[in-house]
Assembly symmetry: C2
Homo-oligomer: 282 residues x 2
């Protein structure tokens, strides 16, 4: 099912750590890598990419066009199984469902995440582009800062930071200096640390790989994702991506994070929205 791509994709950390092994029809195995954790928890975008790969194998179309995930229970590094169902196959779009399972401490199989997605072929889309959205105003990379520039380590550890190339807009870094801006914004240049170019699956990671906007809004602590929907609209060009995340509706203990991902050719390659729980009390 995999097709060669112009970008440098194939034998990278991201590919190895999201590769699933087909055990039989609709059943895939993987060892979820601890390399993609933040404060010990596996990143939701990494997990979505794993499920996305299984669906790409199960469906006749290769590229996720729209994919929604409901995060049920926290996944842990270690063995996991993905089970897929083909819902419908069409000429230009196919739809499938996938679930990630792990065994709990009592050896029972527990569902971690369920996904519903429609796939197509990005290479067959007409190139008529009438996007009116504009790329984010983010300073050049040299004027942005990554985890490596931080004064100290992230409390609880951040293995994922070693896998990513992240250079955040200083205007969204007040939280790291004890002075959050109060605005629900987070912007960053984004890539993979080993230089692998973006592809539709790494876009699923990119939309969930920045620090939470909640940090800039002065909230502390865990902002767990309840649901995440990603639209992949274009195969990303090689080179760094720009990710811009916005929160405008923090209310009732929940918030939304809207992410836009722009590639080096100034295309809006992915849009996502997630609903997350926000703990308001400090």
């Amino acid at each position: 099912m995999a097709q060669a791509s112009q970008a440098i994709v194939g034998d990278s950390e991201f590919d190895r750590d999201t590769a699933v092994t087909r055990r039989g029809p609709g059943v895939y195995d993987i060892d979820l890598s601890a390399g993609w954790t933040i404060t010990g928890a596996l990143n939701g975008g990494y997990l979505l990419a794993v499920l996305g790969r299984a669906l790409a194998d199960a469906l006749p179309h290769d590229d996720p066009f729209t994919i929604s995930a409901h995060y049920l229970t926290a996944s842990r590094p270690g063995p996991a199984t993905v089970r897929t169902d083909v819902v419908r196959t069409g000429r230009t779009l196919s739809t499938g469902q996938a679930s990630l399972f792990q065994h709990d401490d009592e050896g029972r199989e527990v569902e971690r995440i369920r996904v519903l997605a429609s796939y197509g072929d990005l290479d067959t889309l007409p190139d008529d582009v009438r996007t009116t959205a504009k790329p984010p105003a983010i300073p050049p990379i040299q004027q942005c800062f990554g985890p490596q520039d931080a004064p100290g380590p992230v409390p609880g550890g951040s293995a994922i930071a070693d896998r990513l190339f992240l250079k955040l807009d200083p205007a969204t870094l007040g939280w790291a200096l004890g002075a959050p801006s109060g605005k629900g914004e987070m912007r960053s240049w984004f890539g993979l640390a080993d230089g692998r170019d973006a592809d539709p699956f790494s876009l699923l990671l990119a939309v969930d790989a920045l620090p939470p906007t909640a940090f800039e809004m002065g909230l502390k602590g865990w902002v767990p994702t309840v649901e995440l929907t990603v639209h992949v609209r274009c195969r990303p060009a090689p080179g760094p991506l720009r990710v811009s995340i916005t929160t405008r509706n923090l209310a009732g203990g929940f918030l939304e994070e809207d992410a836009e991902v722009w590639d080096s050719a100034d295309r809006l390659v992915a849009q996502s929205r997630q609903l997350a729980r926000a703990r308001l009390a400090d």
Copy 2:
């Protein structure tokens, strides 16, 4: 499962036409009403509300918090069955899946729509509201226009227009006068024609009940929804809603429609995004 509400909800067209009859555990029947069609096709938000009701019965929580639907094949007025699966039940959130089936001309059962959703209890949410989004700039109702004010009937019929109270912002009505603005925007006051107040299920209708933004962008014809995700963030207050829809990424034969629904108390009660096919050639 149904709870009394302060708003006028209960014996209205919308309630009657979205009520499902439980045949057995996880199986519900309904006769989809032709009253909710536009140019003969059943409105996607109406269908989502039907599925939403079935899930509210199947799950221990009553209110959709985040619900995603993939539209597989076109539904028709007439008999349909909804089958639900409980994915996970939790203390504050439960997750379920639902599918709508109908029989095709050969008598085979065909899946029309599949939904994945997480439900909770809107009444238990804390009232801490830090929404930074602002209500849409839309003129007062008296300065807006509905289908009843149109010069002629919608080609192909619009039964749904008789079920809705729609008063569109004249700034987004250029298309109706042969002069589309070119901007991907649509704004309207919204209610139900028989005066029923809004509730979480009618919000699922509201996000998909306006004319397509594509009309204002000069596109003609059918803009079928591939996928629709709605976040219901607050129980709406009685009185008319304001719906504002934006498209910023028309490209490659697809577009997104982002909808915000504001209630009479100036709360952002629902946010949605759909991915739709856009036919570019006139």
